[in-house]
C-alpha cells in the first residue's frame, strides 16, 4: 500500500512527467496546482463533475459534457497494461464495432486511465490509435485526485483497502448507464462482447430487443 500511495505524491507525479511527454498545457497546470486529496466517497450515488482531459487534449467537464443525458459505457484502463487490460480493450473494440453507427450518437464510450500520473493525453492518444478507437469513444485523464474521486464514484473500487490498492484490478469492469433516467448497472469486461452490448441495450430505452442482433443478417 505504501508504495502505491507514493504514486500520488507530488514528487512521483513530477518524476512521472519527466519521462512522459506532456499533453495540453492546461492538463499540466491542472494536475500540478492541486494537492492530491481524492474524495473517496462511495455510496453517495452522485457523479462528480471535475475537469478531465480527452486523448485529443481537450479539457471537458466530466458529468456536464460527457455523461449528462447520455447512454454511456465507462471503463478504466491504463496505457501500459499487458495482461487482462488488453483483453477488456479487445472486447470493447468489438463492442464498438457491434454498436456501429450508435457510437457517438446514442451510446458514448469512455475509458478513464487508472494511472493519470503517466497517461497524458498524448500517451492515451497513441494508445487509442493503437487499438483503432473511433469517434464516440474517448480516453480520459486528469488530476490524480480527480481521477481517484471518479473511480470511487463510479464504483471501480473494493471495500478492502489492500485489494483496492491494486489499481490494475479495476480495469475489468464496465459501468453502464443511462444518465437521463439515472439507471446504472455494471458488466464484467471479459464476458463475450455481445453480452456487453446487451447490457447497454438494457438501459438504452430506444432499443427494443436487448440481445445483440448482428447487422449482417
Amino acid at each position: 500500500m505504501d508504495t502505491d500511495d507514493k504514486m500520488f505524491t507530488r514528487r512521483t507525479l513530477l518524476a512521472g512527467f519527466g519521462v512522459a511527454a506532456l499533453g495540453a498545457l492546461a492538463f499540466q497546470r491542472s494536475m500540478l496546482d492541486r494537492e492530491p486529496v481524492p474524495q473517496r466517497a462511495p455510496g453517495t450515488g452522485r457523479l462528480p463533475n471535475p475537469t478531465v482531459f480527452t486523448h485529443e487534449g481537450k479539457a471537458v467537464k466530466f458529468y456536464d459534457d460527457l455523461i449528462r443525458d447520455k447512454v454511456v459505457a465507462i471503463s478504466m484502463t491504463y496505457a501500459q497494461c499487458t495482461a487482462t487490460c488488453p483483453a477488456t480493450m479487445g472486447n470493447l473494440i468489438r463492442v464498438q464495432d457491434m454498436l456501429g453507427e450508435r457510437i457517438g450518437r446514442d451510446v458514448f464510450m469512455y475509458s478513464i486511465t487508472l494511472f493519470p500520473e503517466v497517461d497524458t493525453p498524448r500517451v492515451l492518444k497513441q494508445y487509442a490509435e493503437k487499438f483503432g478507437v473511433k469517434p464516440g469513444w474517448t480516453f480520459l485523464t486528469g488530476a490524480p485526485s480527480d481521477i481517484e474521486s471518479l473511480r470511487f464514484a463510479l464504483g471501480f473500487y473494493d471495500l478492502d483497502p489492500a485489494v483496492d490498492a491494486i489499481r490494475t484490478q479495476h480495469a475489468n469492469m464496465i459501468r453502464i448507464g443511462n444518465a437521463a433516467y439515472d439507471r446504472w448497472t455494471m458488466s464484467p469486461g471479459l464476458v463475450r462482447p455481445e453480452l456487453i452490448v446487451s447490457t447497454i441495450n438494457h438501459v438504452d430505452r430506444s432499443v427494443v430487443h436487448t440481445a445483440h442482433i448482428p447487422a449482417t443478417a
Binding site: P42, G45, L159, D160, A162, D164, S187, S198, A211
Partner: protein, 591 residues
Amino acid sequence: MSTQDIVDTSGTAPVCPGRRTFLKGSVATVAAPMILAPRKSEAQAVVLPPSPPVVPWAIELPPEANLLQPVAALDPPPLAWANVAAGECGRDDHPRFGQLYVNPVFYELRARENPDWVFNPAYPPQPVWGWLGSDGQVTAPGPTIFARYGRPVIARIYNELPQDHIGFGSPEISTHLHNAHNPSESDGFPGDFFSPLKAGPNLTVPGQWRDHFWPNVYAGIEQFGGIGDPREALGTCFYHDHNLDFTAPNVLKGQIGFYLIYDWLDSGNERDNSRSALRLPSPPYDYPILLQDMRFDVNGMQSYDQLSPEGILGDMVAVNGKIQPVLRVARRKYRLRVVNGGPSRFYFLHIVNAASVQQPFIRIATDGNLLPRPLHNHRKIEIAPAERADIVIDFSVYPIGTELYLIDRQIQLDTRGPDGVSLAGRQLLKIIVDREPPEADVSRVPLLLRGLPTISAAELASAPVRSFAFDRTNGQWSINNQLFDVENPSVVVQKGSYEIWELVNPSGGWHHPIHIHLEEGRLLSMVNIETGVQIPIPPENQGRRDVYVLPPNTSMRIFVRFRDWQGKYVMHCHNLVHEDHAMMLRFDITA
C-alpha cells in the same frame, strides 16, 4: 490479526486460496506491491449517513394475510404458446400444457407503481413498485396467493410499471416463483425480462403481459406419476422479480409477494376432518412475515446506490413493507412464516418479552419445506437472504395485553455477510396479544410432519460430483473462473438425473447464500476448507433446501435431482447485489 499478518510483499505467505487465485491474475503484470487481502475485520468501513429515525409502533399490520382472489377467467384465454397478437411477450411454449392444464385457477398480477406508500409515518409517502390487490390497493409486498397442489395456476403478470421512470429500479420484470417446481419459460429466468417496450435477451418480442404456468406439481412427476412425489412439497414460496442486473433495486422497490402452497397433508385447515391432515394453525392464523433491509436518505426517501459494486446494506428493516410495525394477535397458536427478502442482510432473530427474555417456539419448516419432525423449544432463527423459517408460537400462554418483540441480534457492517451477534439486538416488530380467539384453537403440531424423500446409498455412490467455486477473478464475480452468460449454459444436465454439487467459497471475505432453481436439494456435508474440519449441520438445516449458505472458506456437498422440466435455469448468489453483479450460472436441462 495484525497488519503484519496481512501484508506480504513476497506473495508466498499463506493466504486463502480464493485471494491467491485472484492475486495471481491481477498483479502479475504491474509494479504494484503484492498485497494480501485482510480478513473481513480490516475491511474499510463505508460511512453513509444513517436513515433518519422512525416512529416505532405507529403502523399496524393487517391481522391476516392480504389475499389475492382468483379471477373467473382470463381474457384472452391462456394458450400453450405466446399470444403475441394479444400483447403477450415472446416467451417459449408451456410444456405439458395438454397434460397438466386441467381445472386451472386464474390470477391476474399487475405490477404497478403506488405513488404514496408509507414505510413509516416519519417518512413521506413515496413511490413503490408493488402489485395490485383484489381490494384495489397496490401494496409492496404484493398480495398473497394461496395455492394448492394439483390445482394448476395461470398467473397472468402484467407489467404496468412506469416505463419513463427515473432513478433506481428498471421497469422490466421477470417474476420468479421461488422455489416452485415450474417449467423454464414460467420460472422467471433473468433474461426473460419484459416490458411493453423491451424484450430481454431470451425473449422474441416485448409485451404488456406474460402468462406464467405454475402447475403446482411436486417434483418427480415422471418418476412417480400423477402430480409427483408429495415428500417434495413446498410450502412457503415467494414471487419476486428476477430482472437481469436489476433484481436488487426492483425487489427493494416492492416486486415481491407471498405464494403459499397447501396439499392434503399441510391442508391450510386446522379443522380438517381428514385423518391425513396435519391441522397446523391455518389462515388467518397462518401469517407470512417478509423482512427487507432498506436505506433512506435525509429526506426519508428510499435510496439505493446503483453505483456501488457492493450495494448498500439497509439500516432499516421493513416488515411486510412497514418499519417497526405492530401485529395484533389472538391468544392462540400462530404459524409465522419468516422470509428474508434481502437484498443483503442476514438475521439472527428472537421473539422476546418486555424483559428481553427469549421466548420458545416450534420450528416446523426451513426454506418453506416442512421438516420431518417439529423442533421444539427453539428460540432463535438464523436466516440469510432468501432463506425462510416457519415457526409455530403459542400466544395462549400470555395474558391479554402482553407485548412481545421480534428482535434481530445480527451485527453486520457491510453487504458481505454477518460480523457477529450483539447482546441486545434491535426491535423489528411488536406483537401485542390483544384478544381471545373467537373460537377454540383446535390447531396442533403433530409429532411427524412431512417425511423426507429417500436418497439411496446406490444413488449417493453413483451420483456424479460437480464442483463450483464461487470466487472473484480480477475484481469480477466468477463461478469456476467463468463469467455469467445468460445466452449459453455453463452446465448441461440430463432430465431425470441426480448429482452431487460441491459448492465452494474460497474467499475470505464474503458469505454467499447460493440458490438453485427447479428442485430442492439436501445438504450432505459442510467443511472448513482451511482446516479440513467438518462443520455440523443443525437439525433445522437437514431437511430439503433451496438456499445453501456458504460462509467464507467453506465447502459443502449437496444432493440434488433435475426432474420433469427441460430448458434454462439458474444457480446464483441470493445476495441480490452479488446476483446483479453476475454471480450467476445458467444450467440447462436436456432430454
